[in-house]
């Protein structure tokens, strides 16, 4: 069902490919193991008059049947670790130069988004606050500062493949670059009380013109 | 109650008598309880230099007296074990009595200390240093109380010359309570 979700950020495809990569590796192991397993059950089913074999599993050439797959598992693990850490580094550790910075504030049970407004700087008079609607421009790199007012929340944007918990008292910085216009879900993915199920928001990814138009209309609305 | 001891209890495949084996395992689980709490405290303490100010309001000399009391009670406790090994139950009971007296003294001093601190306005909610202070010392005091009560039963048995091996078991536990205090003392009182 993953393929039905649009890949709307620069790293969405990386994460999907990582999942596919792991899927192929573990898939091979899985079907191999289950295949051998069921074949053995069928092959060595009890037959009247036939006694089971006495295998201790101590001789080296017998033990190989365990030690070789064992080593192969380790090799596969190395590949998976390398692939996973590369994606992780890209999404969570490095921080590309931003075109703009927004602030995302979770509280019971809504998301408040602080947009930088026309001057593209946070914490100035023309900041635009919205509840439940995040407006970003496509092909621009955003930093977000994630905060929480009360309990833990988790800022989850499935189409970006992005998720990060918000912790009261802390400010956590992350980044994304939208690549596709449209309107998508923002979820809270960490239980935050009885309203957790309604803590939804929408992200509006707009092209440059629409976004500029939104900024001017929103500024006009909030600063009389 | 006449409770038959199962044969299982009398076996000793490791060479360590079962009760002593059990008390070591209990101590291992206590090490992680206190270790967890003190480890967490230590991390906070290093991260919060401002706690030095709060820590300066603890009464070092009271803590020091209590350290002395516990060390001495540990000493009498180990002497009780020595007496029990020689089969002298009455002597062991007497020495255990001294140890219990030490525990009571420790608790009395502790209550005096807490009373003055609470009256001075330093309660468990004053700040997180004080929360840790009362939690860690309180958890330790609970162990002191539990140890003293069990020791009372052991002493009564020992006086009648029964179950003398238990003197060693409660002793090991008691020394552990002492060791925990040896670390609590510098952590809560001395480090400023």
């Amino acid at each position: 069902m993953l393929e039905s979700l649009p890949q709307a950020s620069t790293y969405a495809a990386d994460i999907d490919n990582l999942i596919l990569f792991i899927g192929i590796i573990v898939g091979v192991w899985f079907f191999l193991a289950e295949g051998i397993f069921f074949w053995l059950i069928w092959k060595f089913r009890a037959k009247p008059g036939e006694k089971s074999q006495y295998l201790v599993g101590k001789e080296k050439h017998v033990k190989q049947w365990i030690t070789i797959p064992h080593a192969l598992v380790l090799v596969c693990d190395v590949f998976i670790v390398v692939a996973a850490v590369r994606v992780w580094y890209d999404v969570k550790q490095q921080l590309p130069e931003p075109d703009s910075t927004i602030r995302v504030i979770g509280q019971q049970w809504a998301w408040t988004f602080q947009h930088p407004g026309a001057d593209n700087e946070l914490d100035t008079g023309d900041d635009i606050f919205t509840v439940g609607d995040l407006h970003v421009e496509t092909e621009k790199t955003y930093h977000f500062q994630l905060q929480s007012r009360d309990v833990l929340h988790s800022f989850s944007v499935p189409v970006f493949r992005l998720k990060q918990d918000a912790i009261p008292g802390r400010s956590i910085t992350g980044w994304f670059t939208p690549t596709q216009t449209g309107e998508f879900d923002v979820q809270c993915a960490e239980i935050c009380g009885i309203g957790h199920g309604v803590m939804a928001a929408r992200i509006h990814i707009e092209d440059a013109n629409t976004h500029a138009a939104w900024i001017s209309s929103a500024s006009a609305a909030t600063t009389p | 109650m006449a409770h038959a001891r199962p044969i299982a209890t009398t076996r000793s495949a490791t060479g360590i008598p079962t009760p002593r084996l059990a008390v070591w395992w209990i101590l291992a689980s206590e090490v992680v309880i206190f270790g967890g709490l003190l480890g967490v405290y230590l991390m906070h303490r290093i991260g919060h230099p401002e706690w030095a100010e709060a820590a300066s309001h603890t009464q070092t000399w009271i803590g020091a007296i209590n350290t002395f009391v516990l060390l001495t009670s540990s000493f009498t406790c180990v002497l009780a074990h020595q007496a029990a090994e020689k089969g002298n139950g009455k002597e062991a009971a007497k020495l255990l009595g001294f140890t219990i007296l030490g525990a009571l003294m420790f608790l009395m001093i502790k209550s005096y200390e807490w009373t003055t601190e609470i009256l001075a306005g330093y309660t468990i909610t004053s700040n997180t240093f004080w929360s840790f202070y009362y939690t860690a010392a309180g958890l330790h005091a609970l162990h002191v109380i539990a140890g003293a009560i069990i020791m009372g039963f052991v002493a009564v048995d020992a006086f009648r010359g029964r179950e003398l091996h238990r003197v060693e078991i409660i002793g090991i536990y008691w020394h552990f309570v002492d060791v925990v205090w040896i670390f609590l003392f510098p952590l809560l009182y001395i480090a400023k």
């Binding site: 792991i22 899985f30 599993g57 797959p69 992780w88 833990l152 | 409770h3 992680v32």
Partner: protein, 573 residues
Amino acid sequence: MADTVADVHQHETHGHDDHHHDQGWVSKYLLSTDHKIIGMQYMFTGMFMAVIGGYMAYVFRMQLAFPGISVPGFGQVSPGEYNALITNHGSIMIFWVAMPVLIAAFGNFLIPLMIGADDMVFPRINRLSFQVFFLSSVVLLLSLFVEGGGFGGAWTSYPPLSANGDYNQTALGATLWLTAVGLEFVAFLLGGINFITTLMNSRAPGMRAYDIPLVCWMIVIASILFMLSVGPLLAGAVMLLFDQTLNTGFYDPARGGDPILWQHLFWFFGHPEVYVVLLPAIGITVDVMATFARKKIFGYKMVLYTAVATGVLSFFVWAHHQFIAGIDPRMANVFTITTLLISVPIAEMLFVMIATLYGGSIQLTTPMLWALSFMAEFLIGGVTGIFLGASGADIYFHDTYFVLAHFHYTFFPIAIIGTFCAFTYWFPKMFGRMMNDTLGKIHFWGTIIPFNFIFIPLFVLGMGGQHRRIYNFQHFPEIAGPEYFQLRQLATISLLIMLAFQLVFFYNVIVSWMRGEKAGKNPWKANTLEWSTESPPPHGNWPVDELPTVYRGPYEYGHPDREEDYWPQHLPG
């Protein structure tokens, strides 16, 4: 050594007889210090709790598939009730079902019998352990009915939500829940010390370390893991309790505390806890597989060492539950490596299981079907765990239904399949009668097939971005479409079918208990010591002067020097 034991026997003969007659029902079944009775008490309490946990699953699955309907037997589910249901479902299934049944019930029942002892080393501490556990169950059930309802902050109980009644609106429920969990930990610490010392000290003469059946080893390794990991959480739970009741600020960021701290303490315990319940289940299945494949385990020491390695490694992996919880991202790399490393010993255990079948003479009895299905189903849980342990993929999967399906594919084989496997295998020993095999197989297929149809749809939903602990998805347009609803309904209907088939099990238990075929000492022709005594074993397990002596390992099946294909441990020669 042998002399000493003989002396002791004579000395103790008298004591046991004294103890045995003139017991009322209460002192025999409620206040007994007999390890078998205590095991039963744990098992029936655990099964009772499992029924409650299953009922909760039924209620919230109904709400998810048919939002807003009045669930038969419950009524309409409010968001607060929904949170309380999922929280307590999780807590009950792990702390009050998996642990008491797998570790406490079978540990109590099996360890003395399998090592040839007459009881646990501390029978009264054992009884105390059950009493504390029982108290904890009562407190937990009480917490569901207090003002404000049961605690609804998820079984992980992350503060600040759990620490403050203003946030969770169930202040009393949260405190009672925490108290219940704390009592439960104390009960298992007491029980664990008993298991460990019993295994270490009270083995039958002649039983060396490598002659101990794996299931005993596994239960003891699990107890050690539990003991060494739970301490910091106990300290943390006291701190959380103070936050809730005394208004301290251990987890309150505005007062110098740190909410992340609880997550670390919780998972420092919580991850080893997974292996605490996994290892006994593996021990059970390995034992059953050896018996019914009539094969020696392919590498006894390998299983044992990998279990120890898993245990050790499990202390290094806890933060993979917190990749995106706000920990320093550099630490995630360390924990990704350790997490994937743990797949090596686990894979090795499964390989050993597969290899054990080679050359066997496999009898597909009901317990064997359960054991084989454990391997087949647990593998799915295992391989999907790789996705979650890989930090990069976890960014997407964290807290989705993928995680949920993954850990149900591990916990269901552990707690449910493992329990049924052990229960059907040792039922003759426990009650002296055989279970009906046909009914057992109907129950088996009626459980396994719907089980897969519950959780495979949930994998798909998780891939689609459906996240956990939401009582109604209507507010999230992307996951509220009809294809999502069909999958949810499929899962729910499968659950209903699975629950219905459990009635077959209970019917089977009652009928077999009353009128089953008499089992005899050793119906499965198995090797381990418990099969050398009567079924059910008398008080003291063996006549006092006939406690067994051990001459060989527990898995000598199909030995070429012997006509029969099994060679019990206690037979000389």
